[in-house]
């Protein structure tokens, strides 16, 4: 029983190490958190964390800008990550690890990790 427990712990540790390594070994896409409303209205999209949170809470899209591209960021469960992104709006540089794809002309990132850089 005791040996089995040790084996189980070792197995879990090995698997989690691999997953953590996988997440960190992927190169994050770097950019800024911006308000899509602001961009639509001709602005540069830059908003503070508080403004972004307020916008996200009232259903306005908070998005991720990398270079000239605007990405709509989604969580792995398929929900829009605007509210989560809003927390990083004050950061100059934000990195997102995940998968990028284009759906009906819209650039999407399915994010596994968001971090300030």
């Amino acid at each position: 029983m005791n040996k089995l427990s040790v084996f189980a712990v070792m197995l879990i540790m090995a698997i989690s190490t691999v997953f953590v390594y996988e997440a960190y070994s992927q190169k994050p896409i770097q950019g800024q958190v911006v308000s899509f409303n602001s961009i639509v209205m001709g602005g540069n999209g830059k908003v503070s964390k508080d403004e972004a949170k307020k916008l996200a809470d009232s259903g306005n899209p908070i998005v991720f800008k990398s270079g000239n591209k605007i990405y709509f960021v989604y969580n792995e469960d398929g929900s829009f990550a605007g509210k989560k992104l809003a927390n990083y709006a004050s950061n100059d540089k934000v990195g997102i690890v995940g998968k990028a794809k284009k759906v009906n002309g819209v650039d999407i990132i399915i994010a596994t990790m968001i971090e300030s850089m």
Binding site: I15, P28, P61, K69, Y74, S79, F80, G105, D107
Partner: protein, 184 residues
């Protein structure tokens, strides 16, 4: 005793190997060609394709089918070529289409949601969009600059919806500044 320990380590090593192999990016498979003529035809098509890319503006995109165009690990290096969207004036004649959920489109669905579902999605901060009859997807805004997802959700049960306003293309995405929305 030692054998059991060795076996355990062997299993762990095996699992680590399997997980690591699973993350490797797949190389695209090469297409097989039946004849030299087919190869020449493909090369001709490729040349025409390159010309189109050069002529198209950087913000080209939109108007495509309901399925995803590409799927890749961050960061994307290549740009898929699709029909460039054009700004349009719909102040007299409405732009017709349906209300869709971006979440559903991303998950591979057709985007169709009921009014109740759409309102629930909006309440949770998700995006509700408009898909025109030609397949183009629009981010709809009110004239005051606020996102109109909440307003659109109210029309999700309608099989056809018309919007008056003006469309524009921003960073390759279609945006519609709406004056009026009605079921048709």
């Amino acid at each position: 005793m030692k054998l059991k320990m060795l076996l355990s380590l062997l299993i762990i090593a095996g699992m680590v190997f399997v997980v690591s192999c699973g993350s490797e990016e797949k190389q695209p498979e090469l297409e097989t060609l039946d004849s030299v003529d087919e190869l020449i035809e493909e090369l001709d098509e490729a040349e025409t394709h390159t010309d189109t890319i050069t002529a198209a503006p950087d913000t080209s995109v939109a108007v495509s089918d309901a399925t995803s165009d590409k799927d890749e690990t961050v960061a994307p290096q290549t740009e898929s070529v699709s029909t460039p969207a054009k700004p349009g004036d719909y102040t007299q004649k409405p732009l017709e289409g349906t209300i869709v959920s971006l979440n559903h489109l991303i998950m591979g669905g057709n985007g169709k949601v009921s009014k109740a579902e759409a309102q629930d999605l909006v309440a949770k901060g998700n995006l509700i969009l408009f898909r025109a009859s030609d397949g183009a997807v629009y981010f709809v805004y009110n004239e005051d600059g606020t996102f109109a997802g909440k307003r659109l959700a109210g029309y999700a049960n309608n099989s056809k919806v018309g919007m008056l306003g003006k469309s524009k293309v921003i960073n390759g995405m279609n945006v519609f500044i709406m004056n009026m929305i009605e079921s048709m």
